[in-house]
Structures are given as structure tokens and as C-alpha cells.
């Protein structure tokens, strides 16, 4: 026993030493190391963004934050949460113990999670500016944050519904795919979708996968098996797009008769849009959310009322809007342009992504 205990101690000591040695050895370059977002430079207020999940989508927010940090002079960090409310509470409590952090932007994982809302209020009491991005708190708890920057998910759903009505005027049986059906954005998108699509579309089922990508694919297979005459597949969360596209691409006879509409554009989904395995995707603008989030927080911290008023026309909420991405200009969904909706072909979208150095949106 003594031997083992001594050995355990020794290992711990060794590990600690290794850390000292590396720190001492001049880690000024830090080439192959891993870490979170590097702050763009010293000076300016320190801001922390808290994600709801670790999906690809957040890389675009991160890029927007970094560009915004350079533009408006702030130190920005993105903390990625593990898809649990508890994880967000832990991160917020950690931030509470960091006196140098002046602003926090959070994508609330559950709109009415009391723990998260309490932690946000404590942050405000500690003198930090708190806003929500991407996913807001429920209206009853609006005092837990100063402002919300993000997409109106109900409107985004309605745009998707209008797009599918143009793509498939005859309507049909529709299956929806999502990570968590109870999530606020999922509910709003689903509601908006059926409002925009009209009565010709009937919902068969909403398939949940709990953000397990393997299960997401399995759900598409099960939906196609269960309802062989399924007409429309709608992916409410970004990775559902890839799961649907890959499954329909595998069976040409299925691809020919179904319509696929998705939300957002993961890196892996881009080629599927180009190949026409996805008929339309309603994209949020995560890059802009990150950039605007930094601008708003710095303005709020500096007390720059004019900028705040510019960003928040109604004082509290800023919608970043959505874009509809289609495979080519001759898609029937291009008619959405007539109602003032921004519509881009995948080639146009790809060049925009490249211009911003992004992989996904």
C-alpha cells in the first residue's frame, strides 16, 4: 500500500513539475498548443460569450466576435457549453468570480431555466453587462438581460414554410427533425414553418435525436421507413441538414420525390446544397451576431448611448435576419426575393463565407 501511495504521489508531483518546466521553458510562441480563443490584443473591456452547445455553427459566431474585438477594441473569449443547463450555470458562476470581465453575452439553453436566469441576475448585480445572443430568455425574465441580438426564430420558420410552399405547391406529408423538440428555437421554428407553409402540409411527426448525430441519421431512415409516402423533410437544427441530405442522396428514388428544407449551413452541408440534396436552407447570420454582440457590449460598457440606440432601434431587441440559400438561381424558392427576403445561391453564399474566412453559417 505504501508503495502505491508513494507512487501516486510521485506521479502527481511529476505531472506538476512537467507543467512548471514547460512554463519556465519560455512558452512565448505556443505553436502546437491548444486553447480557447486568443484575445486579439491587450486593452479594451474583457467580454465573454457563452454558447449553448459546441456545434460548428459557433465557429462563425467566434469569427464575428474576433473581427468585432479588433474593430471595436475588446478582448473576447467564447466559452463553449456542453448542451446542459447545469454547464451554463457553472460557466456563469465562474465568470462571477472574474472581476476583470465586464460584459457577458449568453445563448440561453432553456428559455426559462431558473438556475441560468438567477446566475445572469447575479452577474448584473455584480456590475457586469449581460445580453443574450442567438437564444433569448422567456419574456417573463426579460430583466435578466439588457438586450437580445439574434434571429426571430418564428419568422425564420415562416420563411422556411414559404420556401417549401414555393418548392412544393401541392403540399404533402412532412417530417421534422431536431435535437430537442422542447427547445425554444425549435418550437418557434416549427410553429412558424407550418404557418408559412399553409394547410397543404401535414405534420407526421417530429423526430428528436438529443444532438446525437448518429441518432439524427437513424431518425431520417426511420421516418422514411415509417411513412413511405413522405413528401417533405425539414431539419430544424443545423446538423439535421447533413443527416437528411446524406440519407436522401443514398437513395435516388427517394431524392426524386421529397423536398428538403433545412436551417443554417454547416460546413458538411455546403456540398449537399450545391449538389441539390437540400432544396433550400434558411440561414441565420451568426457572424453578424458575434460582431454586433461585441459592438453592443463595448458601447453599453462605455455608456455610448448613440451606438446603443443605433444597434437597438426598439431599445431591447435586435434581429439579425435570415437568408435563404438555394442550389441555383432557377429554384422556385428564388421567388421569395419578391417579398423582400434576401435569397442567395450556394455559389454566392460560398464566396461570402470565403470573404469572411468562414466555414459555416
Amino acid at each position: 500500500m505504501i508503495g502505491i501511495r508513494r507512487r501516486c504521489f510521485a506521479w502527481a508531483a511529476f505531472a506538476a513539475l512537467g507543467a512548471i518546466g514547460m512554463g519556465c521553458g519560455g512558452s512565448n510562441t505556443g505553436g502546437g498548443g491548444v486553447g480557447d480563443t486568443q484575445p486579439p490584443g491587450p486593452g479594451g473591456p474583457k467580454l465573454v460569450f457563452v454558447s449553448n452547445s459546441n456545434s460548428d455553427w459557433w465557429s462563425a459566431v467566434e469569427k464575428g466576435m474576433q473581427d468585432g474585438g479588433e474593430e471595436f477594441g475588446a478582448e473576447v473569449t467564447l466559452r463553449r457549453n456542453d448542451e446542459q443547463a447545469q454547464g451554463q450555470i457553472n460557466i456563469l458562476r465562474e465568470i462571477l468570480s472574474m472581476p476583470d470581465v465586464q460584459g457577458v453575452a449568453i445563448s440561453v439553453i432553456e428559455a426559462d431555466s431558473p438556475g441560468v436566469i438567477d446566475a445572469m441576475k447575479e452577474l448584473q448585480q455584480a456590475g457586469k453587462v449581460v445580453i443574450t445572443i442567438d437564444s433569448d430568455v422567456s419574456p417573463d425574465s426579460a430583466d435578466a438581460r439588457r438586450a437580445y441580438i439574434g434571429t426571430n426564430n418564428f419568422d425564420a420558420g415562416r420563411v422556411a414554410g414559404k420556401a417549401i410552399a414555393l418548392l412544393r405547391p401541392e403540399g404533402g406529408k412532412t417530417a421534422l427533425f431536431v435535437g430537442t423538440a422542447s427547445a425554444a428555437n425549435a418550437r418557434a421554428r416549427e410553429e412558424g414553418f407550418f404557418l408559412g407553409a399553409g394547410d397543404a402540409f401535414q405534420k407526421t411527426q417530429t423526430w428528436e435525436d438529443g444532438t446525437d448525430h448518429a441518432k439524427a441519421r437513424q431518425n431520417v431512415q426511420a421516418a422514411l421507413s415509417k411513412t413511405p409516402d413522405l413528401d417533405a423533410l425539414v431539419g430544424l437544427w443545423s446538423y439535421n441538414a447533413t443527416a437528411i441530405a446524406e440519407e436522401v442522396a443514398n437513395s435516388p428514388q427517394v431524392r426524386d420525390r421529397v423536398t428538403v428544407v433545412t436551417f443554417d449551413l454547416d460546413e458538411a452541408a455546403r456540398p449537399h446544397l450545391a449538389e441539390g440534396n437540400i432544396d433550400a436552407s434558411v440561414c441565420q447570420n451568426p457572424y453578424e451576431m458575434g460582431r454586433l454582440g461585441v459592438q453592443l457590449l463595448t458601447a453599453l460598457i462605455a455608456g455610448d448611448e448613440q451606438t446603443v440606440a443605433e444597434i437597438l432601434p426598439d431599445g431591447e431587441i435586435r434581429e439579425t435576419g435570415v437568408r435563404v440559400i438555394i442550389p441555383s438561381a432557377d429554384s422556385p424558392a428564388a421567388a421569395l426575393r419578391e417579398s423582400g427576403q434576401e435569397v442567395l445561391t450556394i455559389d454566392e453564399m460560398n464566396s461570402w463565407l470565403e470573404s469572411k474566412g468562414l466555414q459555416s453559417s
Binding site: 508503495g3 521553458g25 505553436g31 456545434s55 426511420a222 422514411l224 447533413t242 458538411a268
Partner: protein
């Protein structure tokens, strides 16, 4: 298992005793009946004809499309299940499977997208770590091959090595009074550690620590000392991966095959690092082969590491693998920077997404393991170990080695599972494979494996897996008006209780 308690077990099944893994047991027959019954039930209650997929078929569950996707899914989970079945039969448990899936996916993604193509431009950290790993692993191999004199050499040499490590730290720092003190303390503690371990435990323990001190010294010289060198890093990557292959081979007592393994790994890595540029859309074949080999080797090494924790520290298997369940996922999060990594190269992805590759791969693994457990001496010894560990040890079985084999198989297959799941979805995320260990263990238990060890079979596990997957899929397709994901867990729970309950009663009667 009383036959195995004889002082020197014969190298084959003892005369007159049943061959536990190769005979069709009652529980397996029962499972087959249960599968047929569930299929009948689905056929009877499933609603609606399916005219579009296949006009000949009358029910969606039995359409060619559904059977194919179901078989594909069974193959993916099956790789994990048969691996954990070997550990359970040997009397252990492996809880780290889900985390291993995530780690293996993330590591292979990083290898393909940045590590292997980028090793030529390695910075000081990457160079230093690779050289440190290479030197430490070579020293450990020396310990295994050469023994005593080598151990003494390592321990004595650790004094200059510790001085070098501290010296490099000092040279790279500000060279003020404080850093002199830190460097001196560092060197003293390192030396004290090696000699303390040697006195407290044995030469070997001291020498293992000494090997790490050597690695630290070489790593700091090559990495932080030179400011990073792509050529050194490339050589160190090849050396460290083949040394890891050799070490795992030696620990598993592969003898000459260990050298073959090391050479193969080295060849794969050389192919990988010489394959040039790689993007997420297009990964050269050499890099795919190297990345897959290294991820599998990592799984093998982590599996063997579980056995080391269990053997050397006398940790209960539950605790050892519970620790890695948490630790490996955290490592996957660190390595991936907590984001998903996309690889859409079709050649790599075909491994996991094409059913005609995944299913034969799984069948090959299952048949090999089934033969190993059922017809070889090794398999019999694993049953003996699981049945009664003390009796197995007293009758002269190499129980430490047997455990290492069992956990290494499980680690290897979990890593393979990670690569297949990654190929299927095209993106590696650190949250992948969450709770997959539970589905794998459930399949093994439903398939007749006893958690107390010594009972069960690979064939039974495959049948258990088929039953579970049919039940889950069938529930989703048959149940109307309620979300299948809500009821699926309940149905699965009932099936597990029924299957294991019947199994226990059957076994008690006999």
C-alpha cells in the same frame, strides 16, 4: 470452470467439459426465439402497406431499405458490443467505450486535418512533446526488453537528464534569481522522484519515472530549446508511434509479432507524413491509413492502460474505467477545442457510411472474436479468468496478461467504432458516443453475458444486439400517436428485464 483449477491446464478444452463459447447454449436459442417473436409482433401490429419502397413488401419495417439501414446500425453498435463482451466474459467491465469513441473520432480527425499534414511545420510545443514521447517510449521498451541493467542505466542517467531539463527551462526564461531557484528545485525534485520511487517500490518503478525525465529533457532540448523543428518532429512522430506499437505488442506478449506491429505502424505513419497537403474535402490515402492506424493503436494502448491500472494499482475495473470515462472525454474536448471537426473525404467516410463495408467489417470482427473465445486456448483462459480469478491464478494462468488482452481488445474495438461513427456522420464532435457504453453493455448482458464474468459468448452478444436494435427500431416504426423517442427507453427496459430474467431462471434450473 472447475476444470481450469488444475495446476497445469491442458492447452485445449479439457475432455468431457462443454466448450463455453462454441456450443449453442440454451440462452442463445431463447434469444433467437425472442427475435422471431418480436419480428412476428411487429409484422402483426405494424400499420399500413408500403407501396413505394418495394411493392412486394407489405410492411415498412420489412422493406429492404429499413432492413439495410437497421443492419448497418447493428454493425456500428456491434463493434462496440462484442469488444465489451470480451471484457465482461473475462470478469471485468469497460465503461470508457463512449468516451473512447469520441476520443478516437477526434484524434483521427485532428490527425487527418492538421497533425499529420502539419507536422513538417511543427512549433516548439509539438516538437518537444513528440520528442519527449519518443524518448520515454523507447526507454520503456528498453525496460521491457533489456530489464535490470537498462533500468539502472536509466535511473543513474536521470541525474544529468534532470539537470538538462531544468537548464533548458532556465535558459529560455528571464534568468533572474527566481528562475534559478525554480530550476534548482525542479532538478532536485525530478531526481528525488526517480530515486524515491526506486527505494519505495522497485527498480522498475524508478526506471519508468527516469524514462519520463529523460523524455522531458530531450523534449525540452529539441522543442523549447530549438524553437521548433519540423524535421525533428516528423522523425519523432514516426519513432514514437512505432515505439508505442512495440510497447503495446510487448505488453500483450506478441513476441515477434510486436516487431511486425511496430514496423507496420511506422510504415503507415511514414506514408502519412509523406502524403503532402490535406483538406477536409480531400484527404490523401496515406494520411487516412496513418490516421486510422494511429487511432486504433491509441485505442489498443488505452485499453492496455486500463489493464495496467487494474493490475498495478489494484483498482477495481469499474473505478479504472470510470476514471477514463470522464478523463478521455475531457481529453477529446481539449484536443478538439470543444468544437466539431468536419472531414468529408469520401474514401475515409465510406468506412462508416457504406453498409457494404461496415457490415462485413463487423462480421469479420465478430467471427474472429467468436473463434478466439470459443476455440483457442486464450479464449478458454479468458473464461477461466472470468469464472474464478483466484483459481485461474493458482492454476498458473497468466491473469495479468489475460486482462491486458481483454481490455486491449475492447479499447481497440471502441476506437474502431469511433472511426466508423465518425465516417458515418462526417464530423467528429467531443460529445459523440455519449452513453454508448450502456448500449454496448446492455447488448452483452441481454446476450447472456454475466456481469460476474465467466459466462456468455460473442454469438449471444450479437443476438442480444439484434434483439435490442429490432425492438428500438420497431417501436419507432410501429407506435403511432406518441413520439417513439419517448417510449423507446421504456420498451428497451422491459426487454432487458425479460431477457435477463428468463436467462437467469433458465440457468438456475440447469
Amino acid at each position: 470452470m472447475s476444470d481450469d483449477a488444475k495446476p497445469s491446464p491442458p492447452p485445449g478444452p479439457p475432455p468431457g467439459s462443454p466448450r463455453p463459447g462454441f456450443r449453442w447454449g440454451g440462452s442463445e436459442l431463447g434469444l433467437a426465439v425472442a427475435i422471431v417473436a418480436v419480428l412476428g409482433l411487429i409484422y402483426a401490429v405494424a400499420p399500413g402497406p408500403s407501396a413505394i419502397f418495394d411493392p412486394g413488401a407489405s410492411r415498412p419495417f420489412f422493406s429492404e431499405y429499413n432492413i439495410r439501414s437497421l443492419a448497418h446500425l447493428m454493425a456500428l453498435f456491434g463493434v462496440l458490443s462484442v469488444g465489451v463482451a470480451v471484457v465482461i466474459i473475462a470478469g471485468g467491465i469497460d465503461l470508457s467505450i463512449g468516451s473512447m469513441v469520441a476520443l478516437s473520432a477526434v484524434v483521427s480527425a485532428k490527425l487527418m486535418t492538421s497533425w499529420l499534414p502539419g507536422v513538417g511545420q511543427a512549433g516548439p510545443w509539438a516538437t518537444g512533446m513528440l520528442v519527449a514521447a519518443a524518448v520515454a517510449l523507447i526507454s520503456w521498451n528498453g525496460l521491457n526488453l533489456l530489464g535490470g541493467p537498462w533500468a539502472r542505466g536509466l535511473v543513474l542517467g536521470s541525474i544529468p537528464a534532470a539537470l538538462v531539463a531544468a537548464g533548458v527551462g532556465l535558459a529560455g526564461g528571464p534568468m533572474d534569481a527566481g528562475s534559478w531557484v525554480v530550476a534548482a528545485v525542479e532538478a532536485l525534485v525530478l531526481i528525488g522522484l526517480v530515486f524515491g520511487l526506486r527505494r519505495g517500490a522497485d527498480d522498475r518503478a524508478g526506471a519508468m519515472a527516469a524514462a519520463l525525465v529523460w523524455g522531458l529533457a530531450a523534449g525540452s532540448l529539441a522543442g523549447w530549446g530549438t524553437g521548433g523543428n519540423g524535421r525533428i518532429a516528423t522523425v519523432a512522430l514516426v519513432v514514437s508511434s512505432s515505439a508505442l506499437g512495440l510497447l503495446v505488442g510487448l505488453v500483450l506478449q506478441f513476441r515477434k509479432a510486436a516487431v511486425v506491429l511496430a514496423v507496420l505502424v511506422a510504415a503507415a505513419v511514414v506514408w502519412g507524413v509523406s502524403s503532402g497537403e490535406s483538406t477536409a474535402r480531400e484527404v490523401p490515402l496515406g494520411i487516412i491509413v496513418a490516421a486510422v492506424s494511429l487511432s486504433l493503436l491509441l485505442g489498443l494502448a488505452i485499453g492496455a492502460g486500463h489493464a495496467f491500472l487494474i493490475n498495478a494499482f489494484r483498482l477495481p475495473p469499474f473505478i479504472a474505467t470510470l476514471a477514463t470515462l470522464a478523463g478521455l472525454r475531457s481529453l477529446a474536448i481539449i484536443l478538439s477545442n470543444n468544437r466539431s471537426i468536419t472531414v468529408s473525404d469520401p474514401t475515409f467516410r465510406d468506412l462508416g457510411r457504406q453498409y457494404w463495408i461496415t457490415i462485413p467489417l463487423f462480421l469479420a470482427v465478430a467471427v474472429l472474436l467468436s473463434l478466439m473465445m470459443g476455440t483457442t486456448v486464450l479464449g478458454r483462459h479468458l473464461y477461466a479468468l472470468g469464472g474464478n480469478e483466484s483459481a485461474a491464478r493458482l492454476s498458473g494462468l497468466p491473469t495479468r496478461r489475460l486482462k491486458t488482452v481483454a481490455y486491449a481488445v475492447s479499447g481497440l474495438l471502441a476506437a474502431l467504432g469511433g472511426i466508423l461513427f465518425f465516417g458515418r456522420s462526417g464530423s467528429a464532435t467531443p460529445t459523440m458516443g455519449f452513453a454508448y457504453e450502456l448500449s454496448a453493455i446492455t447488448a452483452a448482458v441481454v446476450g447472456g453475458c454475466s456481469l460476474s464474468g465467466g459466462v456468455g459468448s460473442i454469438r449471444g452478444t450479437v443476438l442480444g444486439l439484434i434483439l435490442i436494435q429490432i425492438v428500438i427500431n420497431g417501436t419507432g416504426l410501429v407506435v403511432e400517436g406518441i413520439d417513439p423517442s419517448q417510449i423507446e427507453g421504456l420498451v428497451l427496459g422491459v426487454v432487458v428485464v425479460l431477457a435477463v430474467g428468463f436467462n437467469q431462471r433458465f440457468r438456475l434450473k440447469h
